[in-house]
Amino acid sequence: MEETSEQPAHLLRQFAWTHRGSYSLSILSILVSEAITVQFPHLLGDFTDALQAGRLTGRLVVMYSLWLLLVGVAYVLLYGLGQWWNGRMGRVFEYELRWRLFNHWQTLSTAYFRHRSIGDLLNHAMNDVRTVREAMSGGLNMFANAVFLLAATLVMTFRTVSVRLTLVSIVPLLFLPLLVIYWGPRIRNASRRVQEGLSDMADLTEESLSAIRLIKATANEGVEGDRFGQRVQEIVSRQMSVFRLQASFQSLIPLTGSVSFAIALLYGGYLTVTHQILLGSFVAFTFYLVMIITPLQQMGFVFNSFQRGSASMARLTVLFGEYADITDPPQPVSVSHLSGSLEIDLPEFAYPDADVPALKDIHFTVAAGQTVGIVGRTGAGKTTLVNLLPRIFDPPARAVWMDGHDVRDLRLQVLREAIAYVPQDGFLFSTTIGENIGFGKELAHPEEVAEAARQAAFWQEIEDFPEGMGTVVGERGVSLSGGQRQRAAMARAFVKDAPILLLDDSLSAVDMNTEKNILANIRRLRQGKTTLIIAHRLSAVRHADFILVLDEGRLVERGTHEELLHHNGIYATLYHLQESEKEELA
């Protein structure tokens, strides 16, 4: 794995280097534009001096106007071009970074995602990436603008106006970047607290309205109203603290500029009156001052933006630093096809973050083509056990064998191609039903998909959907019931038609009759292929070649249905419980 080349800082350097030509041009363009724009006050000053000296003629007035026009147009074009190009490149980088992040995540294992909230990860992908982009496009533009414009202005005022006047007047303005640096993060934090308050209120509203029957039936409207009122009041007070900060900020910024201006007026006026500088220089200087107020503010913004950008960069670096812990072995066994025989020889398995092992002393073999039932109470370790086969969680070395190879020695692609899996929750993507069912096979024939749906007893219902197989499921389409999702997931596994099929309690939400049909189809389809069925309803495993009973992570019973009944253990108890319920009501 080339871990270092995936680091965002490295990507950024690489990006900047690849586009060094473009960046040089755009920054040059901004540099030239600033050199041009500082001519603007200078022209006005010259104009004034000509006027004062009585040299001004109608022709000269036109000349000056045309020069001003030229300066104005050239500046806007050059600066706009540089700004646009930098912004554009930033957005291209944003896109590339996000794409890398997505691909990176796809290589990480379930163990990684288990303890991370999707909301947090999304935050990184959206906000951190955007913040980096803002720093490298908007931040870069402001930085270039501020630095070049300040430099050009200082050069001009030193050369054409007065060094002393410049130095004295500029003092208050130097506080501008500091003001921004001080207030910027404070305002941002306070605003975030308002947002939190708002979502608190929205949460409470949703909670109350969802439980409106309960609230009405208990005459609790008043109490809820008070609770709501507290949230609203909290928002008001948080909001006001934001406004207090903003008001100070928005008042102080222009104040600083104006104080500078007043100094320039007084001292510059004095210099003019005492003939140390010309009126034109004085006029030009007042315009220079107005001109550099914005870039000085921008220095503060740039500082904040770079700071946020580097914080985001650090978070992204951590993300990219998470290496995929389940990967291809360095020297994979060269097998391309697996027949589906299994051997589990597992002394112990614990989740990476747990102290107590989830599985202990599990030993059994499955010949290719056998059907195995796995039963046990919730939390007995059934799902954990089957998750070890496709290496969703990594088993210890020499514990899980497939066709005589340790699964850890097989290439992931070979291993996973040999396994079809139906998860408990029937996870589907928000795309069409057809695409979901054909998910495991890129170019699945529509007839294959339809046949799989039929075998999963889902065809009839799909036909009734507005657009059949083309119906979109999920938030933007029809919402499927738990049973429908499970059957779609079942069909998806059928299309894959792998040597090993894993059913993780995947028929729990399907009614008895349908379950019976699907199980019959599985027996027919899976003739000669290995099938592992986890089930709560014992009827689902009754016909298995043998049944494993797990309890608290241990394999406590094994045998056929009849043997286990005869054995009179946990399985028998479970069975009699389920049967007696039937009888009692019947």
Binding site: T48, L108, T205, V232, Q246, G269, V273, V283
Partner: protein, 592 residues
């Protein structure tokens, strides 16, 4: 617009603040407009004269500072006053809206999705608040700024000022034109961004499926498509905004060149003084910002109108069920608990009767079962008894008093329900039992929990009664939640109870707990149970069998079996249809 006007009364209490803001804005604007004028005076009076006056210059500079400080103070207080008024208005609207919504009867919630209502309360109000703050402020501050600059220019020189007026329509035109395109570009970016987020969220949740089916490449390609569309929209949006800002700036620069040309000639011919030209150049530059910000508010106005409309629509709905003018009062301690339905008919929609001619009697303290196929109207009977709806025909009596004669708040202290779905609030376990009421003490909460057998379960939680329940009780099992809802009913101590039997599969240990809890709840109360499992009501004092909105059979379990009718048939079938359902409620009757 009319909908915004309807919200205007909310602003009336803050009329004084608004007038104050207006005054402060006038001061602030006047000080801004005065600044270039002071420089002009300094130039023309003190600098460009034969006998320059440093003393005058000092005066002007001090005046300049004074003006600036005054303007800054006015601006500061203007922001705070206006925002305070705006926030208070929104607070008021929110409270009214929430009370109004919770005061609605159930038919309202049948028609309106909760998500929609939450949006009304949270974001629509937020948008409307911008009308009272941003829009109002911009209208007076920026509008006034433009007016005052125009006024100042005409004061300085009418001829040049008149020519400068060409800019006004030009600026507004360009600004409005771009606004629309900017908004569209912005929305396009948002839409594509939302797609990227949705895709990411889903694929992070399903990454296991992608990996097992080895479809990383396919998902990467799909992501690539969405990501690319977002990039395009994003770049387009940026281009549009750069183009807009630079166009505006270009126009500003051209305007200055034009002023120098026109004004320069005027100075040359001694029509104006040089200081006037200086002021003109400053004013022209100051012209652009307020116009730009005013046109931005156009969008605010439009979205506020839409939001105000939505809020207005909610506020104009009257509750379907209302209290009688002089309600009868029954003290909870005096209630015997007799429930009678007299020839009740009811439908959610006219001409679609759900219940027809229902006659039912529950004696004080009795246990009544309601049975029937899905859609027979069992739950509707419950909704009528809690007066979520009023019957179309007939009447319902509680201790002989028509429900319509009772105040709803009183009724709900007397009649309680336990629903299939247990609602939990973000809060502690104790809060959830007492429903945040401060008139129910900790002792009462504990006693209630103990009565239904929830105490032992709660004691095992990390912080016992103070354990915080997250997102709809996600950290509790179904059985535990059910127990909390029983404890709640005991704490609230309502004398007539309706139980919509829970069908969740509980493990055997909790099952026993829940059964015990139910026995405690039913004690000393008139209890009506909607039964999904017949075992539950086998020992009821009386069972009503409903079909298509009518009571078709009634009697005890044995009587109904001997009738050999629908109940007997259902009973025979139920054993086969629900083989693995257990008898959670089966013991209630026996122990009574």
């Amino acid at each position: 617009m009319s909908s915004l006007l309807r919200l205007l009364p909310y602003a009336r209490p803050y009329l004084r603040q608004f007038i104050l803001v207006l005054g402060l804005v006038v001061v602030y604007n006047a000080t801004s407009v005065l600044q270039p004028y002071l420089v002009k005076v300094a130039i023309d009076r003190d600098i460009v004269v034969t006998h320059p006056s440093f003393h005058g210059l000092l005066q002007i500079s001090l005046l300049y500072i004074a003006v600036v400080v005054l303007g800054t103070a006015a601006n500061y207080f203007q922001i705070l006053t206006l925002q305070y008024a705006g926030q208070s208005i929104i607070r008021h609207i929110r409270l009214d809206l929430f009370h109004h919504i919770t005061a609605q009867s159930m038919d309202f919630f049948d028609r309106n999705a909760i998500g929609r209502l939450v949006t009304n309360v949270s974001s629509d109000t937020e948008t409307v608040s911008q009308f009272f703050t941003n829009f109002f402020l911009s209208l007076i501050r920026d509008g006034l700024a433009v007016v005052m600059i125009v006024f100042a220019m005409f004061q300085l020189d009418a001829a040049i000022a008149a020519k400068a007026m060409v800019l006004l329509p030009l600026l507004f035109g360009i600004s409005l034109l771009f606004r629309k395109r900017l908004r569209q570009a912005y929305q396009a970016t948002r839409t594509h961004l939302a797609n990227v987020i949705a895709f990411l969220a889903e694929n992070l949740a399903g990454v296991r499926i992608t990996q097992i089916f080895h479809q990383e490449m396919r998902q990467a390609r799909k992501f690539e498509q969405l990501n690319k569309l977002h990039r395009q929209a994003n770049i387009h949006e940026y281009q549009t905004s750069v183009l807009f800002n630079r166009t505006f700036e270009m126009l500003g620069n051209m305007a200055v060149a034009a002023v120098v040309w026109i004004g320069g000639n005027a100075v040359l011919h001694h029509a104006i003084e040089f200081g006037t030209l200086y002021a003109f150049i400053s004013y022209i530059r100051n012209f652009f910002q307020p116009i730009n910000s005013m046109t931005q508010q156009w969008n605010t106005l439009q979205s506020s109108m839409v939001s105000a409309d939505r809020i207005g629509r909610v506020l104009s709905v009257e509750p379907g069920v209302q209290d009688a003018p002089n309600p009868v009062h029954i003290a909870p301690t005096k209630l015997r608990g007799q429930v009678v339905f007299e020839h009740v008919s009811f439908g959610y929609q006219p001409n679609q009767p759900v219940l027809q001619d229902i006659c039912l009697v529950a004696k004080p303290g009795s246990f009544i079962g309601l049975v029937g196929p899905t859609g027979a109207g069992k739950s509707s009977i419950m909704s009528l008894l809690t007066r979520f709806y009023d019957p179309d025909v007939g009447r319902i009596l509680l201790d002989g008093v028509d429900l319509r004669m009772l105040a709803q708040a009183d009724l709900h202290h007397l009649v309680g329900i336990v629903q299939q779905e247990v609602y939990l609030f973000s809060g502690t376990v104790a809060d959830n039992i007492r429903l945040f009421r401060d008139d129910i003490s900790d002792q009462q909460v504990r006693a209630a929990a103990a009565a239904v057998g929830a105490h032992r379960v709660i004691e095992k939680l990390p912080q016992q009664y103070q354990t915080w329940l997250y997102g709809k009780g996600g950290n509790l099992s179904m059985g535990e939640r059910q127990l909390l809802s029983f404890a709640r009913i005991v704490a609230l101590d309502q004398k007539v109870l309706i139980l919509d039997e829970a069908t969740a599969n509980l493990d055997s240990q909790t099952e026993a707990l829940v059964t015990k809890g139910l026995q405690a709840v039913a004690k000393n109360r008139t209890t009506l149970v909607i039964a999904h499992r017949l075992a539950t009501i086998r020992h009821a004092d009386k069972i009503y069998f409903l079909q298509q909105g009518r009571i078709v059979e009634q009697g005890t379990h044995e009587q109904l079996l001997s009738l050999a009718g629908l109940y007997a048939e259902l009973y025979a079938k139920s054993g086969i249809e629900h083989p693995d359902e257990s008898t959670v409620f089966g013991e209630i009757g026996k122990t009574r």
